[in-house]
């Protein structure tokens, strides 16, 4: 197994090779890479893949890691069942 087969995103099954290929094609922000591969859109919300993506971008573009942006944070922080939200939302109506 080569390092390229390593999984960067376990939620959406994205390998290091796919990530590097996209960066080589010119997709140079987390947001753009996310929209093509769905990286960072799964249940972990980028907590696993985020730093790896930014490190790869930093190495490829020469930009400092700290200048690169992580994706937008989307609520909720962790997955919540819709039925629980519905129940809680209806509590005042009882």
């Amino acid at each position: 197994m080569s390092i390229n087969d390593a999984m960067v995103c376990r939620c959406s099954d994205v390998s290091l090779k796919e990530l590097r290929d996209l960066i080589n094609e010119g997709y140079h922000t987390f947001e753009e890479i996310k929209r093509i591969t769905r990286i960072g859109m799964g249940p972990c919300q980028g907590k696993t893949c985020g730093n790896i993506v930014l490190r790869e971008l930093s190495m490829a573009t020469g930009k400092d890691f700290n200048e690169l942006n992580m994706q937008s944070n989307r609520p909720p922080v962790v997955g919540v069942k819709l039925s629980l939200i519905a129940e809680e939302a209806g509590r005042d109506e009882l």
Binding site: E32, P43, S83
Partner: protein
Amino acid sequence: MSYSADVVIIGAGISGCSIAYNLAIKGITNIIVVDKSYIASGATGRCGAGVRMQWGTKMNCLLAKQSIEFYENANEILEYDRDVTFYQGGYLLLATTEKEISQFQENVKLQNSLGIPSKMVSVKEAKEIVPHLNKDILLGAAFCQKDGFLDPFLTTDAYYKAAKRLGVKFLTYTEVHGIIINNNKIEKVVTDKGDIWTDKVVNAAGGYSKKICDMVAIDIPVYSDRHQILVTEPIEHVQGPMVISFSLNLYCQQNPKGPFIMGRGDDKEPRDLRITSSWEFLEDMAKTIKNVLPPVANLRVVRQWAGLYNMTPDKQPIYGKVEEIDGFYLAVGYSGHGFMFGPLTGVIIAEMISGVKPTVDVSLLGLNRFKEGNLILEPSVV
């Protein structure tokens, strides 16, 4: 930095990218597409990913039908190296009132006359199409198998890549600050990355279309409305069609990859271009989905987000030239269905710019219709 182009397109969503591609295949390749962010960063990339032919006005039906027919072959035509993920699982439109039944009957008659294979279905048939549907909430439904799901990012990427191969230049992360007009003619577009000399501009700015028109003092009757969406964890495929209800303000579809996407609008939204997410939406949507598709409520919400519908008074797009300025074209006001119309938008605007007779006569969709006041209202928007 200074550029020059035969046409400048403002907005790199589905409309802008499709217009650029269609101009380029006509041989007009000296084009610059400008976007303040990245490709499909606005309304296109935030939309519900559904496409349907089931509309209530002749124009919307025609635009949607021909666009979906293009999408059926988009991977091949655009020579895309990925997959736009088109899945024709249909749209099931729930009728919850007698009024909706008669509206849908009227719509189906119009759709059938234009070659759209939609039909009315009974509650029992609706339940066969979507077994987990709560049958107590509906009186009947309309269904069209040709409607479906399409990945907005990848579809726009497919147009973008095809246009780029033909020589179109894209300036992303570039914001338009002004458009200089001289004697009713366009002189240049001013951006934060330099000026672009041109005599033709297409406003395909989606939620920001009015801001662009304000730069050239053209008043368009549009406003942008925040619509919110959420997506759940993925499960095995159990729901073929998009389920829509206008009266319950809901659309819900299972992405072919497994997650459910559901969204709605709110008439009381502030019209200030905000695209933040709200807690109220999450609660209201959870209650609605528990009522309409009860088992779906057992899934976890993974993310929620929002985007802008660019609304017109009759909920149909505005296409074409404006009278006051030579070379200024509008491709705006899709009222929440710009992604569905993307292919035809590109064809029509490219034909107008190159002086060819349009494939679909869209003279009814010019800006003038609002002055003349004879509007045909689209009844089927959620």
